[in-house]
Amino acid sequence: MPACPAADVPVLAELTDIFRDLLRDPELQLSEQSTPDDVPGWDSMTHIAVVVESECRFGVQFRTGEIEDLHSVGDLVRHIQMKQIHAA
């Protein structure tokens, strides 16, 4: 199982790292406004992998019904932060 870093790493930076790893693009820059339309290669497979990698790295769990709400990096950030607050 991949090592899970501490959950206090800034969420956007960690998500950027996940996307860079999954998309093999070390130069990729993300903002909270980034959507699948703006990020080449962000398809359905990548979307699921991002969710599972996020679960691992941030120590959270997504419900199946929540995945449809994740339309942008900002949505991911907000969901992860909310889950971290509830878990604290």
Binding site: M1, V52, E53, E66
Partner: protein, 510 residues
């Protein structure tokens, strides 16, 4: 009742709209009630008997949704209710759509001989079944906390612009529009909605139907088609399907907008896709979305989580192993897209269509994983990718249309030149392939690949839900001006005059 019929355009729609205007003055419930009554009349016009089926489906699903939500923290009870709901919906779908074909297959192979007359397929059953299955699944998985009112739920399912052939709507995008609207008629909605409807009508009557002339005779005798006729038949069908579904989708969006409601985009120039993955994001987008939400995502999520729990890895490197690729990509893709094919009908050709596209998608994903570098942005490379994708889609569309697998293979063999080279079609009605036919095909492909989409032409007026990216000819934007009024007025006359000779939408059969 067809959108492209005089009874719809000349009688039903004006009555429905006039009633909506009056009911809107009384209040939002009256307006919603009127729209529901009009939608039921629309459905019952074709076959009043099946109106009972639609009403029963709405009543049963609404009841089960309420029970699931009331079951609260009892997951086993909620699962049992959901299972019963899914079984009931799929059972009805199987009875009307698949059972006769399955029993016929068993009889043909001497496995079982059960007499069963093929029932008439209720219009739109695949669409309203999937719409409601999504609602039940959302109730079970926590995406919905309170059940909507029966009036709004019934209107969500039965609203006539999407009832027969989609788009497959999600409750979150439509029911909130019912709940917050004052239901007053807005002149801008009328102008935008009627323009989109008209563009769709013209696509159907002037583009889709005329190009279909060689399709039926060609697919009836694919064994007789030599090289050029085979290509003509396949290309003509591909264009017919494109403009038929594009036209229908525009008409649905335009009709909803007349009543102040916005639908999601369902068709976004799919033949411009640079990969088959992109194609599925542009063709019948709401079906793809449904399958992703309720089938692919749970499957892929479960598989990926299990791998993570077993320490097998879920990232890019894990997917680049054979086992990782099969587990995380091939399995969910084949199941999802295979079922997408079968959703269209019980014929083996649809299963083959789904499996072919699943194979395309697997190859596409494998290429993305193992290709030596990022894709070239050069124009020539992009054109190559579009043509390669279109070639794959074209082969798939032959399976989609053929009466049986043997017929599809015959037509594909003809396209490969295995039936020789000639220019005449077997049916005299289809005539020969002359210079004018070539010019007509070229003109349609120019529209397919280079013209702005309806959404792009209407972009300044938020024609549908979701973002619309600017397209070619950005100045070609509809505006409520005298010039556009004259052009569209002439187009309306042309569209209305051409209604008489048009046929049913291809997606009505699903």
């Amino acid at each position: 009742m067809l959108f492209n019929s005089y009874i719809f355009v000349g009688v039903f729609l004006p009555l429905a709209f006039a009633g909506f205007c009056l009911a809107g003055r009384i209040g939002p419930r009256a307006a919603a009630g009127w729209l529901l009554a009009a939608s039921l009349a629309f459905y019952g016009w074709w076959n009043p008997g099946f109106l009972l089926l639609l009403l029963a489906s709405i009543a049963v699903n609404y009841t089960i949704a309420g029970l699931i939500l009331r079951a609260g923290a009892r997951p086993r009870l909620r699962d049992a209710l959901l299972t019963a709901g899914i079984a009931g919906n799929l059972g009805a779908l199987a009875w009307y759509k698949y059972l006769a074909a399955v029993l016929g297959f068993l009889r043909l192979h001497g496995i079982a001989d059960v007499a069963f007359a093929d029932p008439i397929l209720p219009l739109g059953i695949s669409f309203f079944t999937f719409t409601q299955l999504g609602y039940l699944l959302d109730c079970r998985h926590g995406a919905l906390r309170d059940r909507h009112s029966l009036l709004h739920y019934a209107l969500f399912v039965a609203f006539f612009p999407h009832l027969i052939a989609g788009p497959i709507l999600h409750h979150r995008e439509l029911i909130p529009q019912f709940e917050r609207r004052a239901w007053r008629v807005d002149p801008q909605d009328i102008a935008v909605g009627s323009t989109i409807f008209l563009i769709g009508l013209l696509k159907k009557t002037l583009l889709a139907d005329p190009i279909s002339a060689p399709v039926a005779p060609g697919f009836a005798h694919p064994e007789l088609l030599s090289l050029f006729p085979a290509w003509r038949v396949a290309l003509s069908y591909s264009l017919q399907l494109y403009f038929d579904f594009s036209g229908y989708s525009d008409m649905a969006i335009g009709l909803a907008r007349l009543f102040g409601l916005r639908f999601p985009v369902n068709f976004n120039a799919p033949y411009r896709s640079e990969s088959v993955i992109e194609y599925w994001q542009r063709w019948h987008m709401t079906l793809t979305r449904w399958l992703m939400l309720y089938l692919y995502n749970p499957l892929a999520l479960g598989i990926t989580r299990r791998r993570a729990a077993r320490g097998l890895g879920t990232g890019i490197e894990a997917r680049r192993t054979l086992r990782g690729f099969i587990e995380m990509i091939a399995v969910p893709t084949v199941i999802t897209i295979g079922l997408a094919g079968v959703w269209h009908g019980s014929a083996l050709t649809f299963a083959a269509f789904g499996l072919l596209h699943a194979a395309y998608l697997c190859v596409n994903h494998a290429w993305r994983l193992w290709r030596p570098g990022p894709p070239s942005a050069a124009r020539r490379a992009r054109v190559g990718r579009v043509l390669l994708t279109y070639g794959c889609v074209l082969a798939g569309s032959v399976l989609f249309r053929a009466a049986d697998l043997s017929g599809a293979m015959q037509l594909l063999a003809g396209m490969l030149g295995l039936h020789g080279v000639a220019v005449a079609l077997p049916d005299a009605r289809a005539a020969t392939w002359g210079a004018l036919d070539t010019l007509w095909l070229a003109g349609l492909y120019a529209l397919v690949w280079f013209a702005p989409t309806t959404q792009q032409i209407m972009r300044a007026h938020a024609p549908a839900l979701g973002r619309v990216i600017a397209g070619p000819f950005p100045r070609l934007q509809w505006q409520p001006t005298l010039g556009w009024a004259v052009v569209l007025g002439c187009a309306a006359v042309l569209g209305l005059l051409s209604i008489g000779g048009t046929g049913e939408f291809l997606y009505f059969q699903f």
